[in-house]
Structure formats: structure tokens, C-alpha cells
């Protein structure tokens, strides 16, 4: 199962991703999910980013809206535009969920 998952919160929503088995998983940080890639808390980046075999994306508009620079976000995460998201949804994944 190829899933692209939008994570729009910082403090919750991610736990479900620990349980679903996928053959291909993309996590897109949008909205306040952006804080996962923008800040470190107590010196540690978000543990979510340690998840293996996941492609991480973050929406450029939402990165900049929150005061972060594209070049400043965690290196494991690819900045994407709304246009990129459309291609990911149609071409790279089969099911789309919003957390």
C-alpha cells in the first residue's frame, strides 16, 4: 500500500503512522506540522524524522508562513510546492490521508 500522509499538527496525529504498514510511505508536513521540521525541542529534532524508509516533504508556503527559511529546515526533508504535491498524489502514491 502506497500512502501519502499529510501531517498538519505538531503535538498530535503522528502516532497512527507507527501502526500502519505500507510498501511506500510519504509524510508531508503542512500547516503546524511544519514545526516538526522547523524547530528542535530541548536540542533534539522531531523523533518522527528518524522513521526509516519514509520520504519526508514539507510545503514551502507553510514553512515560510511560520517564519522558517527553506534552507534552514531539517536536511532529511524535501521542500515542495502545491504543484509538487499534485504530482506526488497522482504519480507516486495511491492513497492519500490527512492526519
Amino acid at each position: 500500500m502506497k500512502i501519502i500522509s499529510f501531517l498538519s499538527h505538531y503535538r498530535h496525529g503522528a502516532d497512527i503512522l507507527e501502526r500502519i504498514k505500507t510498501t511506500k510511505l510519504g509524510i508531508v508536513f503542512v500547516g503546524n506540522g511544519i514545526y516538526h521540521v522547523g524547530v528542535s525541542e530541548n536540542g533534539k529534532p522531531s523523533p518522527l524524522l528518524d522513521k526509516k524508509d519514509v520520504s519526508f516533504y514539507a510545503l514551502i508556503d507553510d514553512i515560510e508562513t511560520r517564519g522558517f527559511k527553506i534552507e534552514g529546515i531539517d536536511k532529511r526533508v524535501k521542500p515542495v510546492s502545491y504543484e509538487d504535491l499534485v504530482d506526488l498524489i497522482f504519480n507516486e502514491y495511491e492513497k492519500v490521508i490527512w492526519l
Binding site: D15, R19, K21, W98
Partner: protein, 136 residues
Amino acid sequence: MKKKIAFVIKSLPYNRETSRLGLTHAIASQSVDVYLDEGDMIEPVVCFIGDGVLNCLKDQQCMKHYNNTSMETHIKNALLVDLQVYICKEDIERFGLTKDDIVTDAQEIGADKIAEIVPFDKIQGIMEEVDHLQFF
């Protein structure tokens, strides 16, 4: 042609409309034929996982206190129209609940369908099998 859609409810009831909208959208599949060609149909499956299983507690008195339909009643309505409903066993157990605490039938309103308490693996299988997946 048949298309399967899973409505996966992971949210607590009552402090958002989220879980209720999950069920009402699933139930709406009963009248979708008017929009579809002869022979086409949608098969909805409702799954409660995570905190979402707390939607399934018995004796919710939302009508008494807030004059609103409870999630319990919505689940019974779903069973009445023969929707397939699965509730995650591991999550029920995590909250220290048993089958007796959970709405699994609606015989009093004439429903034949039973909600099944199943391991997460079964729900994983459903998520893989359906055409579209929607989280609430």
C-alpha cells in the same frame, strides 16, 4: 462496478464534529445510487482505531444533556443500514474496556448487522483492500 471506501475514525467524539462526520458520510453511501450508473455501487467500511474507539462506548447521554444525537446512536444507525463496522481490539483493551462496554449491536431498532471487535491487523487488511481511504 463496486468501489470500496474505508472511513477510519481515529478521533475522540464530541470536541470536534470529526467522528460524527465520518459516520454520516459513510451512511450517505446508502443513497448514492441516484448518482451512479446501473450496477455501480459503493461499499463503505467503518473502522474505529486509536482514541476513536471511545466513540463506541455504550450509554452516551448526549441527547439528555445537549439535545444532540450521540455517537452511540449514529453507530446504531450505521448498523441499521447494514454498514460493516470494525472496532480495534488492541485499542479497546488499552483503555481497559471490554466487549460489554462497547456498542456492537442495535437489535432494539431492528438492525441485523453486528459491529465486530477485531485485531488491528484485520483493519490494516481493509485499508489495503479498499479503493479509497479517509481518516476522520
